[in-house]
Amino acid sequence: MKLHFNDITLDISSNGKTFALTLDDKTIQAEILHAEIGKLDLLIDGQRVTAYVSSDNAKRWVTVNGQTFVLTKSSGARKGGHAHHAAGELTAPMPGQVRAVNVSEGDAVTKGQTLLVLEAMKMEIRVQALQNGLVKKLLVKQGQTVEREQMLIEIVDTLES
């Protein structure tokens, strides 16, 4: 069977106790020595590896040898790279609370103007316009809590509107 993490596809077959995992024409032998909640003891190509694993929807957190990786499991349909936001679509660089909204829909804004102020854990981040234009959509209001990468505001070129 096939599993997909980030942009990587793993082809896995099981031969009783051991697994053969193939990626990029390379095949690795692995065995689960012991499994408990959140933790796997594995034998990978003859080497003992302890991995801590957690799942959060499609996200997989894995720690091996003190290094933590965040992987995203996908159904396999490879997307054309990351979903790119248009230049005027501004997203939250961190989770937090919208402390101030300085503009309304329809306002003209200039490059560098502070549109919104986010606050998290005593830090303040100003979300600034990357271009001159008009506020097409304002998707948050003051006091609202936002997630990282959540769309906040959309700015369009004056001509486009």
Partner: protein
């Protein structure tokens, strides 16, 4: 001794204080905001009182609510911890006015050290070395004259300041006017006070602070130094003691200066005198008293107090409680000594790859390291939510060993055993600092992190491809294990070792 204490704080420091209380047989009262309803510090207390909304202003910064909670629960005293209201003189006064004990120094001491200009004047009077400069100048003309006299680069900073706000480095007289204006504006916004002071800017400084401790009977000693030069945006990241820079007799000179500084404001309880140390001047100095300068005094317990506790062998929080209750502090300066080396790393929920911005979420896994010489002061456990309302400090990892080299190794190994899933942490970044030759050589100054990040020589430990591949395989096999389990779900007699994602603490869903 007190019978019952209210802890006006949250997180790891509230728990740290509660431990000391329990050891002394004192009952504890926690306070909590909406967001902290299920927080670890609430579970550690004998009683817990809800004080308001998640926003600090409505809860941990609300003096009246805290005092009301203390009176209602019949507490004898309030411990403010660090941050929040710990250095607020009017809070200390209010606590005293309702006949409760404020566990800390007097309101007068807090006030005297709270203003950068006033405290600097007091320190000069007491004979404590301060950075060459001037206080109380108003006009741009006077500041310009002062700048020339001091010699550029200079620093203009808000008298009421803190945390780097209202502070500007001025490299040349042509920049002065604009810097004064913007520093004033920021100071007025942040503190409602636009007074500035001007002083020599020391670019390659070490931040070295001295722990002081006194009782209410006139005994006051220092408990040696802490080197806190590993900083980013004025936030300390790694602290250690002894400082790799200090040797005798400089250590003794700075220690006496710290004691003098504290005595000048009638200090008692735990406090910290911060100095900046100029390594360039140090090499030139010949016991002239030059090379170190008073920066400010923190009139409270510090985040990094554990390194001092380990090396000096005293429980600072227990002693805070005991001297606040009127006991004598029994150790003289001669009886105190440093043993071995201690390092603290602050494990933050922040993402070094995303400009160190905070990371929030539910802790899917949280496993702390253990072993000889390892201490973890933490306010979280698996299943807890890390919210955006408060400081991103997850835990303080502290190690103690017989010397610095062994302590560094011990820290590196301990950090490797620290597993945090659900929020991104700075653990990789801490490892990168610890393994950098500048850190090993004790050559880190307060601007080192910024400079080294810019130059690209401070990168997260090169992610070994082999480890990355192993992680991928682990993720895949864990997923397969679930599928296995699901296909065998009817076979009840079969043991189920593969319930990897169904954690009993209800990590998800």
């Amino acid at each position: 001794m007190f019978k019952k204490i209210l802890i006006a704080n949250r997180g790891e420091i509230a728990i740290r204080i509660m431990r000391a209380c329990k050891e002394l047989g004192i009952k504890t009262i926690a306070v909590y905001s909406d967001a902290d309803k299920n927080a670890l510090h609430v579970q550690h207390a004998d009683e817990a009182i809800h004080i308001g909304d998640s926003s600090p202003k409505e809860s941990y910064l609300n003096a009246d609510k805290l005092i009301r909670a203390a009176l209602d629960s019949k507490a004898d005293a309030i411990h403010p911890g660090y941050g929040f209201l710990s250095e607020n003189a009017s809070f200390a006064l209010k606590v005293a006015s309702v006949k409760l004990t404020f566990i800390g120094p007097s309101a007068d001491s807090i006030r005297a050290m709270g203003d950068k200009a006033e405290s600097k004047i007091a320190m000069k009077k007491a004979g404590v070395p301060t950075v060459p400069g001037f206080e109380g100048l108003d006009s741009e003309k006077d500041l310009k004259k002062a700048g020339r006299e001091i010699g550029y680069p200079v620093l203009v900073k808000a008298a009421a300041g803190g945390g780097g706000k209202g502070m500007r480095v001025v490299n040349d007289e042509s920049e002065l006017s604009e810097s004064i204006e913007s520093a004033r504006r920021e100071a007025l916004n942040a503190f409602g006070d636009e007074r500035l002071l001007i002083e020599k800017y020391i670019p390659n400084a070490h931040h070295i602070e001295f722990q002081v401790f006194g009782d209410q009977h006139g005994n006051l000693v220092h408990l040696f130094e802490r080197e806190c030069s590993v900083q980013r945006r004025h936030q300390k990241i790694i602290e250690e003691t002894p400082s790799p820079l200090l040797i005798s007799p400089l250590r003794e000179e700075m220690g006496s200066a710290a004691v003098k500084a504290a005595q000048a404001v009638g200090y008692y309880n735990a406090g910290t005198v911060e100095f900046i140390v100029d390594p360039d001047t140090l090499t030139l100095r010949q016991g002239s008293g030059q090379g170190f300068y008073f920066l400010e005094m923190n009139t409270r317990l510090q985040v990094e107090h554990p390194v001092t506790e380990l090396v000096v062998g005293l429980d600072l929080v227990q002693w805070q409680l005991r001297v606040a209750a009127g006991e004598l502090f029994p150790y003289s300066q001669e009886q105190l000594a440093q043993h071995g080396h201690a390092i603290e790393c602050r494990v933050y929920a922040e993402d070094p790859a995303n400009d160190f911005l905070p990371s929030t979420g539910k802790l899917l896994q949280y496993i702390e390291p253990r072993g000889p010489g390892i201490r973890v002061d933490s306010g979280f456990t698996a299943g807890d939510e890390v919210t955006h309302f408060y400081d991103p400090l997850l835990a303080k990892l502290i190690v103690h060993a017989e010397n610095r080299a062994i302590a560094i190794r011990r820290m590196q190994v301990a950090l490797k055993d620290f597993v945090v899933h659900g929020v991104v942490t700075n653990i990789d970044f801490l490892q990168a600092v610890l393994s950098h030759p500048d850190f090993a050589n004790g050559e880190v100054t307060t601007r080192w992190v910024e400079k080294t990040l810019e130059s690209g020589s401070l990168l997260p430990e090169n992610r070994q491809q082999a480890v990355e591949l192993q992680s991928l395989i682990a993720a895949a096999l864990a997923d397969l294990a679930i599928d296995n389990r699901q296909s065998k779900i009817d076979n009840r007699s079969e043991p189920d070792p593969y319930s990897l994602w169904r954690n009993p603490s209800g990590f998800r869903n």
